[in-house]
Amino acid sequence: MVTLRFVPYSEIEELGSARRVKKLIDIVKENKIVLLQGRLKKEEEADLIAITMEEVGERFKGIELAVINPEDKNMSGLRKVRNNFFGFLLGDRQGLTIIGPASIVKEIKKDPNKIELFTKEAKKKRA
């Protein structure tokens, strides 16, 4: 059985970068797949990888990570500026970040309209 844990952005927005990352990793270490509303900052994504590496051991092998952004290629210039402005002020709530334990999630593939999450049992789940 695979457990998905939805994390609304409001749950992490008050936290500093280090605590955000730690919170997400702690959930993943409970063998749950995190579905985070929005995305982390770019530097936080790098921190997520670095802190994951610090935690890797015989039991915890790391994570699979995917971030889906709403396609903004067709977005008008004004809308893009507005989105960037609110993203800067309130955090990036758009899109979805998926973080799964590598012991369960084999691979996450994405295309503009769907995510395919392959578990170690080679069964296919869709988010």
Binding site: E45, I49, A50, T52, K61, G62, K109
Partner: protein, 210 residues
């Protein structure tokens, strides 16, 4: 007064010289993309020697390797840099994969431990780079989150980037796919192993550090 002025001028000149002398060019990317093979190619071309060992088993490079004062020349231009070959960045490391590749358990666990430290070091060193070449295996999906995270972090730090689609000699290589994934960057298809298209790669280097 004159001695103070002399000191200031000396300090200014030495800082200029130091900056130029210490220009760091980093090779970044996921494991087994061919970073060390490219580092060896550059070192062989310009210093006549190798930089590190390569292997089919992932995470062969587990420590930052630096080759200082590489001077490359092309079409009357000259560029001197310290080449920094970094361990591949990954989100997971499983020692059992090394066992499956033929290693003994103790050796595999040690390799995994060193590899995790290597990833952390690579990320830490991002801030020190003056320019970066991202080395991707052109036979693989270029649009992985690790690649996107590396690109995003370099972008956030305003570090000039050149993307290399390596292993272009292989049938499965798809340089156009790499170019389509990162349209905002100059993507050059090369074979670091056989030296295909390296001239264009050196030209690309001059273009990003101008």
């Amino acid at each position: 007064m004159i001695s103070i002025l002399k000191n200031l001028v000396n300090r200014f000149l030495s800082s200029l010289f130091k900056k130029k002398k210490d220009f760091k060019l980093g090779l970044y990317g996921p494991p087994n993309g061919g970073k060390t093979t490219l580092a060896n190619r550059i070192c062989k071309d310009w210093l006549g020697e190798d930089m590190g060992t390569v292997s089919n088993i992932a995470h062969e490079t587990r420590e930052i390797q630096i080759k200082e004062q590489i001077c490359i020349k092309s079409k009357g231009k000259e560029l001197t840099f310290n080449l920094v070959d970094t361990p591949g960045i990954a989100t997971k490391i499983d020692y059992e994969e090394f066992i499956r590749a033929g290693m003994k358990e103790k050796q595999a666990k040690q390799r995994a431990k060193e590899a995790t430290k290597g990833v952390i070091d690579s990320i830490k060193w991002l801030d020190d780079m003056d320019a970066v070449v991202i080395v991707l295996d052109a036979t693989k999906d270029p649009y992985t989150q690790v690649n996107i995270t590396i690109v995003g972090n370099l972008q956030a730090r305003n570090i000039p980037v050149l993307i290399v689609g390596n292993k272009a000699d292989l049938k499965k290589a798809d340089i156009k796919k790499v170019q389509a994934a990162y349209p905002q960057y100059n993507v050059i298809g090369i074979s670091a192993k056989y030296g295909d298209n390296v001239e264009q790669f050196y030209e690309g280097l001059f273009a990003i550090v101008k």
